[in-house]
């Protein structure tokens, strides 16, 4: 079976570890990954808890595909209530941790409570140990991983850096040095529990029914669908290719989203990354190998990915690839989410240049820019204020109209004035401004759909959100443009029951509604589905998007239509009929 049928529950307050069967009823309705972890959190967390208290829970969740040879199935979901937004939060992280956890004999790990002193977890099959991490506390994620590898042998590790220890709302969790569960302060949840790292070694495997048929089907799909033009951009270039696409369509965030084009874009585009490329790297079971391993000067990293190039590059006015790579390395080591960190530095730059508050850093100032990751992660100097993130900085210093965040989460690298559906996707994403819940820029700004109209955008965003929720629950990486029909074909073989594309669409819808219900219980409604004022009131002036804004009335129209199609009321609350229809 695709599930191991075992959940490991660890209470850090009393040090007890227990195992229990996976809730199969819930697994049928939510698959695994994103959906199932949200279900567990919805049922087990009391409303209104402090995300950084012992009351929050951290869930590591695999999916039915994890550990199999299904292409692009190597990711792990990590979920909790977000300290950045107060919403539900699920992140996904690539590499090899998820299959290793399954090989150790678990579908999921639920971490509760709070340790009295720094600890790390070591899991090897049925042996689970809480070990002292006093000597690791204060170290970056890179050194932590190296030390645990030396100490424990061949393990895969999730670790936090200084940002997580210092409870930053932009702290992420790192694995295999350069992979992150990035957003919403998931690393701060780990830090709040005094949990420095989790290392796992699994000596088992997963059982596949009718392996011959399964392999034959997968080989055919891989050949005819995965390794085709739609997906091979990930191998040929990886995400840096998006820099040129964004520049040419006027949606490359530049100088805190003041413009959608960057004069120095050629210094940070795919060709610039390829000029320092040393190797391609892949996650478990991935034939696409999107990751670029680069070396420039003394710095070696996997990356930089598009989001980093955009938010820490053009958005900070930085067209210096060597500086960008070093900034990226520092963020990875300290475990700072580069989307939020880049936005926050850019916001400080604009506040400084506008004379609102002097943070001593301006657009394009490489020397001070390179000081920022360490200052922010350790809350030193101006870093103590930048560590608040954009929303709280705006509340403290001003600049609310150009604070580029939604629900307290900083905006990813696609300018919504040049991709109106992207604006709707940011406004309605369950964890705040996110491009992974739906990425309509791919078919709108980069495709054939008119990006400057509200017509049809609600339906487009809903469809993408629902299919992505299925992908992140099964779990597939979103870099494979797999159809719902193909997902159903593979899951039918794996789960040994008939699964249709229609059933998967319902599962996707159910997951998004449950996430909304979690947020509704925390007090979120229409007032929280806003976009930054800049997007509505300021027109861009360069490139393809010159003269464009996303007028508030157009945005509100899309939002109302979105609620209507979702079956929610005008205030964005889920109706009783919808709850009943989805068995919520």
């Amino acid at each position: 079976m695709a599930y191991i049928d075992k959940v490991l529950r660890i209470n850090l307050t009393n040090g007890r570890t227990t195992s229990e069967p996976l809730n199969k009823e819930w697994a049928k309705d939510y698959l695994g990954g994103k959906g199932l972890s949200i279900k567990y959190l919805y049922e087990e967390l009391k409303p209104g808890i402090d995300p950084l208290s012992a009351d929050n829970k951290l869930i590591l969740m695999t999916g039915p595909l994890t550990g199999t040879i299904v292409p692009n199935s190597g990711k792990l979901a990590i979920a909790a209530k977000s300290p950045a937004t107060g919403t539900i939060l699920d992140c996904s992280i690539g590499g090899h941790f998820a299959p290793e956890l399954k090989f150790a004999g678990y579908d999921a790990v639920i971490i509760e409570g709070k340790a009295t002193e720094p600890i790390y977890l070591f899991i090897e099959d049925s042996n689970v140990e809480l070990r002292n991490a006093a000597d690791l506390w204060g170290k970056g994620a890179h050194e932590t991983e190296h030390l645990l590898y030396e100490r424990l042998g061949d393990v895969i590790t999730l670790a936090i850096g200084q940002a997580g220890e210092n409870l930053l709302p932009m702290a992420c969790i790192s694995s295999e040095l350069y992979r992150q569960a990035g957003r919403g302060g998931i690393g701060a949840v780990m830090g709040s529990k005094n949990l420095k790292a989790i290392s796992v070694r699994g000596n088992g495997g997963v059982k596949i029914p009718d392996i011959r048929k399964f392999s034959a089907t997968l080989n055919k799909i891989k050949r005819e669908d995965t390794m085709t033009d739609d997906n091979m951009w990930a191998y040929s270039d990886g995400t840096p290719m998006i820099v040129d696409l964004s520049q040419s369509t006027g949606i490359l965030p530049t100088r805190n989203f003041q413009e959608g084009t960057f004069d120095e874009y050629k210094n940070i585009n795919s060709e610039a990354v390829k000029s320092v490329l040393k190797a391609k790297k892949a996650c478990f079971a991935c034939p696409l190998a999107c990751s670029n391993y680069v070396k420039m000067g003394k710095t070696e990293i996997e990356g930089p990915e598009y989001e980093t190039l955009a938010l820490c590059g053009s958005n900070c006015g930085i067209g210096d690839m060597e500086a960008l790579i070093e900034f990226n390395r520092l963020c990875d080591d300290h475990c700072l989410d580069t989307i939020s960190a880049g936005n926050t530095v850019a916001f400080a730059m604009e506040l400084t240049e506008k004379g609102i508050h002097d943070f001593g850093i301006r657009f394009g100032d490489v020397e001070n820019y390179l000081q920022m990751p360490t200052l922010i992660a350790t809350r030193q100097g101006v870093g103590a204020d930048l560590a608040l993130g954009v929303k709280k900085m705006a509340e403290k210093f001003g600049g609310r109209d150009f604070a580029m965040e939604v629900k307290g989460l900083e905006i990813p690298g696609y300018e919504p004035r040049g991709s109106w559906a992207m604006g709707l996707a940011y406004g309605t994403a369950d964890r705040g401004a996110c491009h992974l819940r739906a990425w309509p820029a791919s078919v709108e700004a980069f495709g054939k759909i008119d990006p400057f109209t509200s017509e049809g955008k609600a339906e487009l965003v809903i469809g993408m959100q629902d299919i992505n929720s299925v992908k992140f629950s099964a779990i597939w990486c979103d870099f494979w443009a797999i159809s719902t029909e193909q997902m159903a074909e593979i899951l039918t073989l794996l789960l040994e029951r008939d699964i249709t594309a229609a059933e998967l669409s319902t599962i996707g819808e159910r997951i998004n509604n449950l996430a909304r219900l979690f947020n509704e219980r925390e007090g979120f409604d229409r007032k929280d589905d806003y976009l930054p004022t800049r997007v509505h009131n300021e027109k861009l002036t360069t490139g393809f998007t010159a003269g464009k804004s996303l007028p508030r009335e157009n945005y509100e129209k899309m939002l109302s239509e979105y609620y209507q199609l979702r079956g929610w009321d005008e205030n964005g609350k889920i109706t009783a009929e919808k709850k009943k229809a989805l068995n919520l």
Binding site: D229, M232, S236, S248, K448
Partner: protein, 77 residues
């Protein structure tokens, strides 16, 4: 007429790995779509095209001296 054709990412396979081609064509006018057919680039694999850095549709007429950039479809983010 002489034009420049730029195929991005995986679309280079349709020109045996060459990203940039300087072409001399017999015609004085043809559409982007007709140019792509010549290299057997399926339009389903194309996200959008640019002519002289401006986003255009596949029916755009190409003229001598133009640079045509062809971008692949992308998924994920």
């Amino acid at each position: 007429m002489e034009i420049t054709l730029l195929l991005k990412g995986p679309l280079k396979k349709y020109t045996d790995g060459a990203e940039l081609l300087e072409l001399e064509l017999d015609e004085n006018e043809l559409t982007v779509s007709e140019l792509l057919q010549r290299f057997k680039v399926p339009t389903s694999s194309v996200s959008f095209v640019q002519v002289n850095n401006a986003k255009k549709d596949l029916n755009q007429l190409i003229k001598g001296g133009d640079t045509i950039t062809v971008n692949p479809r992308v998924a994920g983010g």
